[in-house]
Symmetry: D2
Subunit: 77 residues, 4 copies
Amino acid sequence: MTNWKEENNKLTKTFLFKTFGEAIAWMVKASFEIEKLNHHPEWSNVYNKVHVSLTTHDKGNTITEKDKQLAEILDLL
Amino acid sequence: MTNWKEENNKLTKTFLFKTFGEAIAWMVKASFEIEKLNHHPEWSNVYNKVHVSLTTHDKGNTITEKDKQLAEILDLL
Amino acid sequence: MTNWKEENNKLTKTFLFKTFGEAIAWMVKASFEIEKLNHHPEWSNVYNKVHVSLTTHDKGNTITEKDKQLAEILDLL
Amino acid sequence: MTNWKEENNKLTKTFLFKTFGEAIAWMVKASFEIEKLNHHPEWSNVYNKVHVSLTTHDKGNTITEKDKQLAEILDLL
């Protein structure tokens, strides 16, 4: 995992793109992987930035292997 | 505008969908309108929810006509 | 299934939208269902139109239950 | 322009991706550029392939500068 921060039991990272369109297209690409894992992030977009926050709700909002797995997948997209 | 709240100089609304996929597809549809207006929201997604927050940064973070215009467009999508 | 044609062992239908953006967003929404079924169409887009063509390659390019299932899902999106 | 073919007054190219999801996400990314140019391709998808065909309808279906411009943009995405 590259450049993820751990804060308040969440793994967070901000991804930066050239344009708004590229940010949205990246979210689409990520969504297919997210669906496959069935592990949904809390993520937000403003213009060319996507901020991702990962935690596992059904494990009492702790960081689990599934969060780390999704973090690694998002890094590789 | 339907069901938008005004708080801290922002217009906010949460849109609810049946599935994660429908939420993401709605964001794509909205993105084309957002690009045309060239007025980008702060918006976030968790599973089947999309929370939208509108303000105009270059007017000192106040709610302007452009925010209301985008709010109405998003309501109609 | 509504308005699907059967020709050359394919189920085909053209979906019409108001804008190019809505056509593309519909393709995204459909893609999540397509991935779940793991049954991929041949489909094409020009401006506000999406033409879908369904057949089952590994059954010798015949129309199978899986094609009808996807056709019904696409009708309901 | 890299690897585009000219046939029947159309510029054509097939883009290949690792997955269906990446193909669709690329179409989304391309769509924002297409909207900006207001020059819409005929393009089709099967699984991890996107076939693009460019021509200018209002110039009697000939290849124009606009087709070449879009071809170059798609190469760079």
